[in-house]
Structures are given as C-alpha cells and as structure tokens.
C-alpha cells in the first residue's frame, strides 16, 4: 500500500471488501459504538460486564441493543464475575463478550487463563487507559501490551488485535469473534481511550463473513490430539455430558493432574494452533516501506501520529515508512525481521515505555529506538519528527 490512499485510510477505506449496495450507509459514530455494531454483526448474543472508564459506552449500548436483537445482557458484580458469566454463557452456546480497561482486565486474567485452558471462544475488549493502577481513568495509554500476553499464569499464546480507526473498531470486532471461533480461544481487541472515543464515519455496508458454530455430537470436546486442531465448540444441554475443567485434562475433559503427557499435550494443543498461524493472524499494514531507511513501527492511535509524521518527513527528503501492527499477538516476528533487514533504523512509537519495542529489539537486525510517552497524552507527530531527524 502506498501514500496515495492518504487520509482516507482513517475513514473506512477498505481493501478487498465486497459492498452490498442495498444497505450501504456511512454513519458518524464513536469507536466504542462501532465495536458494539461489529459484535452484533458477528453474532454476539451475550454480554457480561462491569462498568469501567473508558470502556463503559460499550456496555451501555449493549444493554439497549442486545435484548432488542434476542441476546442476553448481564451486568455482573465485578470483572471476575463478568468474564465468568461470559465463559459460562459460551458453554451454554453463546457468542459472548465483555469489555473492560486495564484494572478490570487484571481482575479477569485468572478466568481468561481458564478460558484458554478450556478452549472457550469469547471476546475481551480492553480499552486501555493510563496506568499503573487506577492511574488516569479518562486518559489514553497503551500499557496493556504485556498484560494481555503474559498476565495469566502458565504457558499460552494470546491473540490481540489493535484497531487504529473507528472503522477498524467495527471490522476487527467481527474478526475477533471469528478468530475466537476458529481457534477456540479468548481473543482480545486492544484499543485505547482515543480510538474508542474518536468519532468518525463508519461504513457498515461491507459484507462481513461470520463463522457459525457447527452442531456436532460425539467428538472429543478438547481437540484432536493428532493435529492439535480444535474440535467444534460443544454446548451444555445437548446430552454430551461435558466435563469442563481448568485442571489439566485429556481431550475428553477427564482431569489428569499428575500426568506429564496429558499436561504436555494440553499446552501444545492450545499454543501450537495459534503460533502455527502467526503470519496469518498477525497482519501488518505497510505504508511506504519499500524504499524506507527508517520504518516507524506502531499500532492503535499512536500509529495515526506516526502516519501524520511520515508525510512531512518524506517532503523533507527522508525515506520514512510505517509498519502498523494490526495485531499485537501473536507478534509478527517475520515481518519485523524483514523490515529490520531492509532498513537502517526501526523506531517504535507507542504510549508506554517500550513494550512493543522490546519485542522489536528481539527480532530486528538493525538499530531500534522508540518514541515513548505515558503521560496520558497522545504522542504528537512533532515528537516523532524530532526523533527521526
């Protein structure tokens, strides 16, 4: 992709998407509202949540929209109960989601680990705010990069998508549900206060492929141990007599808490299927990288600042490109390695003190530096230009 797509990149320029002319509509809406539209388009029929700034609009909208579409809305007593209800509903047959922010996510992590171990599809939206701790609730940050990856106990692979526009809040929410179904795992949509509260035109008319959950009987509920591929998600009440446990279990759910083979196979099952599809899941949008000597690596709102800094840098004769991570996890190692091989310098732009930069440094062969900020303010293009020049 090159520069010529210009600013439209932010307002819903979509690649490879078919349009349904009969329902074409562009609406001005906030990122959090587009997330709700995406969830409903993807077939979400259960929401369990607890209020927390800056994610609460998702919950408020769900409270109105879900019952109207035949879904179930549950306001729970805390974030622990919210994700628990989401997982319980998923096993009862729901396409379920919750939304929260950093401190709430911290409370959810034990049960997110449970969802991984029990291969439970669900979507967790994390609208990042300024931390640590309560921090600055209404201010943006990108400090949950590592929390979504490593927050829960034990070995795992995470899937985390990172939208940079309101349009992507819609599209990536759909994708998050589809990935959750395909890999039978919790999927994060990691956004930030700015993208979530930004108002932009959104095109809801594109046909959105939605994965349906097949009804099958008699298969082992926990994967094919020969291929590590997930079996279709079963549900309660169908006579399957499901055994679901967060303890180590075999493919039929029987608890085997001292068997090294069962433990190894379980972890292999839930990690290899995600790591094996790394390049497919972890999309990177490259702009002006073909001839770039300096490549800005960024995601979410910060990538917009990087994008804005690129034009004046190019006008000043500097060969600057942008690699925008559309997914944080699994980390797009190969793409970053290739970009590092071709460039003199990678500059990571992020609203934290170097979380993605650490990953970039691990794989890039060239010099890596960063523009980092965790003051609750967005990074300005000028701050990036200062580092480039």
């Amino acid at each position: 992709m090159n520069e010529s797509i210009s600013r439209n990149a932010f307002i819903g320029k979509r690649m490879n998407a078919k349009r349904d002319e009969t329902k074409q509509e562009k609406r001005m809406m906030a990122g959090n509202a587009a997330c709700v539209e995406g969830a409903l388009a993807a077939g979400c029929n259960f929401y369990g949540g607890y209020p927390i700034t800056p994610s609460s609009e998702i919950m408020n909208l769900m409270a109105r929209r879900l019952p109207a579409t035949g879904g179930v809305f549950a306001q729970m007593e805390d974030e622990i109960a919210s994700i628990a209800a989401v997982i319980g509903a998923a096993w009862a047959g729901a396409k379920a989601m919750t939304a929260t922010s950093g401190p709430g996510l911290a409370l959810m992590l034990e049960n997110i680990g449970y969802a991984r171990a029990t291969e439970t599809p669900c979507v967790v939206v994390d609208v990042q705010r300024c931390g640590p701790s309560t921090g600055q609730a209404t201010r943006p940050a990108q400090g949950d990069v590592m929390q979504v990856r490593f927050g829960a106990s034990g070995d795992c692979e995470a899937i985390a998508l990172a939208p940079w526009s309101v349009q992507e809040m819609y599209e990536m929410t759909v994708r998050a549900f589809n990935l959750a179904e395909r890999y039978r795992t919790p999927v994060f949509l990691v956004t930030d206060e700015l993208v979530s509260h930004l108002h932009e035109l959104v095109d809801l008319s594109a046909e959105t492929a939605v994965l349906k959950r097949p009804e099958t009987r008699g298969l082992p509920p926990f994967g094919d141990s020969a291929t590590n591929a997930p079996t279709p998600m079963p549900r309660f009440g169908t006579g399957e007599r499901l055994l679901v446990t967060g303890s180590s279990h075999d493919e039929w759910g029987y608890r085997k808490t001292t068997d090294p083979t069962v433990q190894r196979k379980l972890v292999e099952r839930i990690t290899s299927r995600i790591a094996g599809d790394r390049n497919e899941i972890a999309e990177v949008e490259e702009i002006n990288t073909e001839d770039a000597e300096i490549v800005l690596v960024s995601f979410g709102f910060s990538a917009r600042s990087a994008y804005a800094a690129m034009r004046p840098a190019r006008e000043a004769g500097m060969k600057v490109g942008l690699a925008r991570l559309k997914a944080l996890w699994p980390f797009p190692r190969e793409a970053i390695r290739r970009l590092g091989d071709g460039a003199d310098r990678l500059i990571v732009v992020e609203m934290n003190l170097g979380m993605v930069r650490r990953e970039v440094e691990r794989v890039a062969s060239c010099a890596v530096s960063g523009v980092h900020k965790n003051t609750g303010e967005p990074i300005s293009p000028r701050e990036i230009l200062r580092v480039i020049s």
């Binding site: 259960f46 109960a81 379920a96 009440g237 007599r241």
Partner: protein, 252 residues
Amino acid sequence: MNVPDIKKYLRSEVMPTPFCKGCGHGILMHAVLIAIDELGMEFDNMLFVSGIGCAAWIPSPHFAADTLHTTHGRPIPFATGAKMFNPELDVVVISGDGDLVSIGGNHLIHAARRNIDITVIMANNKVYGMTGGQLASTTPHACITSTTPEGNPEREFDTCRLALGCGAGCVARYSVAEPVKLRRAIRNALRYKGFSYVEALTICPTQFGRMNKMPTPFQMIEQLREVCVPGTREQVMAGDVPEGKVYVGEFS
C-alpha cells in the same frame, strides 16, 4: 423402602472417589442424586457447576451430566452466565464453604439478591480440606486449624442468615447426620423457582476432626447430632443461636 439405583448418574470409570476415609461428601452426593431421582429430573438437561476444593469434586467428574469445574470461588457467576443464556438448563452449584463463602462470598450474596433461578448446595466442612486444614470463614470460634494453632479468634458466618438477609426465598440447612431431611431440603430447593440455597453441614475428620479432638467420623457425626437444633426462619434471621448450637431446618 425402595432405594433408587443412583449408579446411572455416575461415571463408573472415575470410581472410587478421591475422598478421604470418613469424608461426609459421599453422603451429600448420595442425597443430591436421590433427590434428583425422586423429582424425575432429566439428568442430560442438568448442569453442575463447581469451584475449587474437595466439595467441588462431588459433581466433577463423578456426575454423568454436563459439569463445569471452574476457578476458585467463581462457580456462581459461571452458572449465572449459563443460566441466563439458556434458561431451560437446570443449573446446580455444588461447592464448599471456602469456595462459596470466603473467596466467593461476593458472588453468593449477589446471586441471592438477583434471585437467579439456580440452586446452590454449599458443603460446609468448616475448614480448607484440600490445602491442609486452614481457617475458613465458617470455622467456629476457638477451633484449632493449621493457621489458628491457638484457636480461632474470630467468629464464623451463619451462611443461611446471610442468604436470607440478601433476600433468598428458599434457604435450608441440614447436616449429613440427618440425610433424609437433607435430601428433602435439596428436593425442595431443586423445585424452587428462583435462587435456592442449601447449606449441608458435613464432616472432615482428616483435617478438622483430628485437630479438634474428633479424629473419627463417628465422633464428628455425633457432634453434629449434638449441635444441630431445629430452628425457624425468624430465629435464624434474629441470630439468637444458643451457645455452641446451630439451627437447622428449612427457613423459608
């Protein structure tokens, strides 16, 4: 009297149970299954949710129905999500006192307040059995545990009073020393439309009995017979329980 065959409700391949000799959970397990049989409930339409601890192993993996063995303290919100999404399921939570009252107490009071149509059966052995006999929020005052070697300086929860105070419409407590009454209470709870709660006082000779001069199951059952006295809803709500006693009955 005809005793129903409960083997059909059990996964024979996981027998014998992992419970210690003299554990009271087998009596409770039996009472639950007989109650279900007496009501003629469709086992394939039942979902049993449990947390972490010995009592959580009563349904998982023993019951040949859908079972959801969750994280510590959280079976009630898992059950709430499943029930809200599919109200046709008969959802029963079976777990212990540490799980449902200590770490999971917040979920218990909210489920009672919310009046979600599930049945919670709380096996109260007054101690953390699986982790080595530590103090629970249900351990009576002055009792010896691994973490209160000089005796418990605190007082214990009356969990039925707690549930009633949160608006639960069907609350009962019996001990495994009175299995017929316990079974009747479970039957009524399973039949109840709305949130129902049964506290089953049970015994843990291995962890609790040994430390409190009741090393045999027989002594522990005898002690339950001594301390349990019939009480009414009003007496439980008033909290005027005689020293060393506990009210049992169906309190609604």
